[in-house]
Amino acid sequence: MARIVACYKWVIDESDIKVNPDLSINLQNSKGKISDYDKNAIEAAVNAAELLEGKPVGLTFGNSKCKASLKDALSRGLEEAYFINSEKADKADGRVTAAALATAIQEMGEVDLVVCAEGASDTYARQTAPRLGACLDLPVISSVNSFTIEGKTLTAIRKLDDCLETVKVELPAIIAVLPEINHPPIPGLKAVMNAGKKKMVEFAEADLKVDLNPKNQVLDLQAYVMERKNIVFADGELTEQVKNLVIALKKEGVI
């Protein structure tokens, strides 16, 4: 049976992120969630599995708290969930993440399709799919807006800055999907209850025999705050107000 792997990331819920007065980030009381974009990847994997009459499975790399994501992922239509449990995930760069995921995928056995989101909702680094392709020596199609599968041929439409590009690839392959590829359905409560009965596999760091030490290090993280000038152009007639607005924008170098 074909195996389709959806890679997803457990990220901090953006609504829980607070900015301190010194612009440092306050993550106290923050909770995790599956990256919103990865819900699209999971749904795309479920759809692909229907086309391939295969089994959609999930794979994630995260710290021990990430274990809480497995039932959530399974309630969204995946049949099995695989979890690489390592505290090093917190500081992982693109290379480490891809290496960990690739090693786990190899451990799983044969895989027909790997689906990633174009980027995760925390960093949107867009590193995972291309690096995974390099690690597994598989073709990668990024920016996928839609796809079809016939036999072992996947045809994808890539949404680029100024055009739509149609490409095809023989499976196995990796695709990175854009958020507009689908609308992930909200799972029902019964799916949540059934999720606990599905297969969950945990890989310890030692199981994978891969170097999880990053070469890139994040030294500092500061919030970016847009300061508003709050200038109101209320004097004179409307045409004069517009004229003053244009002058001010030119002065700021905006136009």
Binding site: K33, A68, S75, I186, L189, K190, V192
Partner: protein, 385 residues
């Protein structure tokens, strides 16, 4: 929170997704038109929200009461009226069929009700007597193997949209004031000749709840439509109505949280004299602290009571306390939220004053806090608590 676990948290998150993606975009439209949120109600059924406590064999989740409370709280933060419709459907009507119904009745009504395929209404309150069944005049009389139902009910939720009405009616010679023996429950299908559904009443709050009167003129009901023992429905009615009172706790909590969150955000964003209201005015801070304290006090009462309900306690007194406290806290917090908004708080489109109106109706709809306080007083007097 002490009452959360992994599964409940996931289910809460699903309710949140539903609210964010589907409920919130419709809130003000439903508020304005007063139309029953049929599409959202059906979606609630698809997602399993209508069958949380209904047994699995009848299409429900077979889940616990606390999970239901968590879901009601989440929905009430944005659209309290949807929880009102859910309560009338699942707790009052579904509860009675679940407790008293035959396997055939459960198959016919409970199974599709759990998924939202059909909608149920519970017709109990009457114009004379209100919730006092001793004074009820709606009566079913045996006619061969059938029953003939006559009478009318008022302020019934889900009228017009309901596929079947679960009707509390007098069947005995008279209703015993102590035991309420003499009351029975019948199911009246929406297409039963003689069933007349009144107009949807315009109300202070709960816009969209499809509330109004239903009357029965010589409605002929087959004996299969009798639910539970003849003359002996009140015990189950007492349990299902208590479950509905219980639900007013998380609903009141959700209403209060919805209003509080809006007021807090507004106080942090509204600039006066170069500073936001929260940092500038002590009175603003203290109001919000008091609102938050009331919310957390209610939360403690809600979830400790629901924990007892899950242990099998019927929570007869505490269920009524939840409705009283839920109404009190939601009304208070929403009133203070409007006050913090100032003039714009009274503008309908701001979306905060509706929480106060919904909290006010919570203090009356289903049973007034005064009637419930009397029930609780009787239980205290008889050392039942």
């Amino acid at each position: 929170m002490w009452y959360m676990n992994e599964e409940r948290e996931l289910m809460r998150n699903i309710a949140r997704e539903f609210v964010e993606q589907e409920v919130k975009p419709q809130v003000m439209e439903i508020e304005r038109t007063g139309e029953f949120p049929l599409e959202l109600f059906k979606r609630a059924g698809e997602l399993g929200f209508l069958g949380v406590t209904i047994p699995e064999e009848y299409g429900g989740l077979g889940g616990d009461h606390t999970t239901l409370a968590i879901i009601l709280e989440e929905i009430a933060k944005s659209m309290p009226v949807l929880t009102v419709a859910m309560g009338a459907h699942s707790l009052l009507s579904g509860g009675l069929i679940s407790m008293l119904g035959t396997p055939e009745q459960k198959q016919k009504y409970l199974l599709p009700a759990a998924s939202g395929e059909i909608i149920l209404a519970c017709a109990s309150t009457e114009g004379v007597g209100g919730s006092n069944q001793v004074e009820y005049t709606t009566r079913a009389v045996a006619d061969g193997e059938d029953w003939i139902l006559n009478g009318s009910k008022v302020l019934i939720s889900n009228i017009g949209v309901a596929d079947a009405y679960v009707v509390l009616t007098v069947t005995g010679e008279k209703v015993d004031p102590a035991t309420r023996s003499g009351m029975s429950v019948f199911i009246v299908d929406k297409d039963t000749p003689g069933l007349e559904v009144g107009k949807h009443e315009e109300k202070l709050g709960w816009h969209g709840s499809a509330t109004g009167s239903v009357s029965f003129k010589n409605c002929r009901l087959p004996k299969e439509n009798l639910v539970g023992p003849l003359h002996g429905a009140m015990q189950a009615m007492f349990v299902s109505s208590t479950d509905e009172f219980l639900s007013c706790g998380p609903v009141g909590l959700g209403i209060a949280e919805g209003a509080y969150e809006m007021a807090l955000n507004y106080s942090l964003e509204r600039i006066q004299g170069g500073q936001n209201m929260f940092d500038r005015f002590q009175v603003t801070r203290h109001k919000l602290v008091k609102m938050f304290t009331e919310i957390e006090t209610l939360r403690a009462l809600v979830y400790s009571t629901y924990a007892n309900r899950d242990e099998g306690d019927l929570c007869l007194a505490h269920g009524r306390m939840l409705k009283v406290k839920g109404a009190e806290v939601s009304e208070y917090v929403a009133r203070e939220a409007i006050q913090l908004f100032g003039g714009v708080g009274t503008v309908v489109d701001t979306g905060v004053e509706r929480f106060w109106r919904d909290g006010k109706v919570l203090a009356i709809g289903g049973a007034s806090v005064e009637a419930l306080n009397d029930h609780i007083a009787m239980m205290i007097r008889n050392k039942m608590v």
